[in-house]
Amino acid sequence: MDSMTLNKPVQAAVTQPVKVSARDVKVYYGAKRALHGVNVDIYQNEVLAMIGPSGCGKSTFLRTLNRMNDTIDICRVEGKILLDGEDIYDPKLDVVQLRARVGMVFQKPNPFPKSIYENVIYGPKLHGLATRKDEFDAIVETSLKRAGLWNEVKDRLHEPGTGLSGGQQQRLCIARAVAVSPEVILMDEPCSALDPIATAHIEELIDELRESFTIAIVTHNMQQAARVSQRTAFFHLGDLVEVGDTEEIFTNPRDERTQGYITGRYG
């Protein structure tokens, strides 16, 4: 056997700098601990998928990345989350600014009960990113193009966003998220309410968005994780069990629990 050298597992071909860094992140809901110390780096321009059974902590973790958990009174976060090396839980940090840098797309499309146009410029207006009409027009066009929705809605920008189909509404929400030029986009099961065609549109979009943004996506659909991400993290019972190249996770996971989950032997 001594003449034999085995292939080392393929390591993530990461050449990008770290965008988000989580260090020993623990989350409590009252006395109950939901996350037991998560350590993970998210690299610039990558899509990191987070998978795991319900209640494993993946959504909880996602929501710590732009302090969405702040809205829950009994929720407490320990540890450090750094965005470009900056602690996002620093009390001096402006949370509204943070959420402009780290945008979020939710499970159910949630356009405001306003026109398509108003939906897109809501954030830029709030953050004072533009003042003149032509500037807003430009933001609307660019954002809707980035979200792959422009051609479908350019002639009815002033119709209500809620009148669009589910898939279009979700792309409108993505347009709304990218309108403020965030650096990171968090997606919490963005396709779970969509049909396979609309899902394919969003997945294609995620791939394109990756060129400009860093994306963290929570999904219950493992094939989706396999299709859209470069790296995958598996959560189980509040622990980050394993994170690695998506290819490696889906062909040769190292941890038995990951193996059990992805192959459907979870029980």
């Binding site: 034999m4 085995l6 040769n252 193996q259 459907g264 032997r265 979870y266 029980g267």
Partner: protein, 241 residues
């Protein structure tokens, strides 16, 4: 939560069935190789004919395994160890099918050989045959038991087989040079030996597949190439025979 059984029982059953098919097909191939080598040694035309006819079953096995594997890839989208399981079945069935072809070819040539005078180098054929059978048995056992150590041990034995083949090759060339009437039986012997040598290579392929199946990584070590017959030159010696 330990990886035990699939939540979806029918998936578990399909994987088991695939594995059973490989085991059965492997058993048939072992028997085919054994019978073919025996037909050479015993100059048994009837036995050889049976081997040739038996090859059809292996083609059927291969088709069935391919069909099941493609169906599982399409409908179950297997990942992790399940994906490796399906890929391994596809690869191993191809190796077994080819090994069966070699057995059939050996049987065919044994019929021609039975009508020709016995050549001394023929004595090496049963030795090569035994070695191939042992390798086949070991790699198939390794597959069934998911035993990487056993697979790797069998993988190393291919060197022995290559050495036997190289020495037979030299011997056969010498006989042909001695007397042109030896050329016909010797050529058949040479092809039979080559078939066995190739069967050994397919057994090592299976060993590599078992390694991949269990460990998730390819067996990358270079196996020393023992078949030196490609470089062998034998010059007739002046004034002899």
């Amino acid at each position: 939560m330990s990886p035990t059984e699939h939540t979806v029982k029918s998936f578990e059953a399909e994987l088991q069935r695939l594995s059973n098919l490989i085991a059965q097909m492997g058993g048939v191939v072992e028997a085919q190789v054994e019978a073919a080598v025996q037909a050479v040694g015993r100059r048994d035309v009837e036995g050889a004919t049976k081997v040739m006819q038996g090859d059809v079953r292996l083609d059927e096995f291969e088709r069935q395994i391919e069909h099941d594997a493609i169906r599982m890839l399409a409908l179950r989208a297997p990942v992790g160890v399940d994906l490796r399981e399906v890929l391994a079945a596809l690869k191993i069935s191809a190796d077994l099918e080819r090994t069966g072809d070699y057995a059939a070819n050996i049987a065919k040539r044994s019929i021609a050989l039975a009508q020709l005078p016995v050549m001394r180098p023929a004595g090496t054929i049963p030795r090569m045959g035994r070695l191939v059978q042992e390798m086949l048995k070991d790699v198939l056992d390794a597959y069934i038991d998911r035993d990487v150590e056993k697979a790797v041990a069998a993988w190393h034995r291919d060197e022995e087989l290559d050495d036997l083949y190289t020495s037979l090759f030299r011997e056969v060339l010498t006989y042909m040079m001695e007397d042109p009437r030896n050329i016909t039986p010797c050529t058949h012997l040479l092809f039979i030996a080559k078939n066995l040598e190739r069967a050994g290579d397919h057994a090592t392929n299976i060993a590599e597949t078992v390694h991949f199946l269990v460990r998730g990584q390819p067996l990358t070590a270079e196996r020393p190439k023992g078949d030196k017959s490609s470089f062998t030159i034998i010059e007739p010696v002046e004034g002899e025979g």
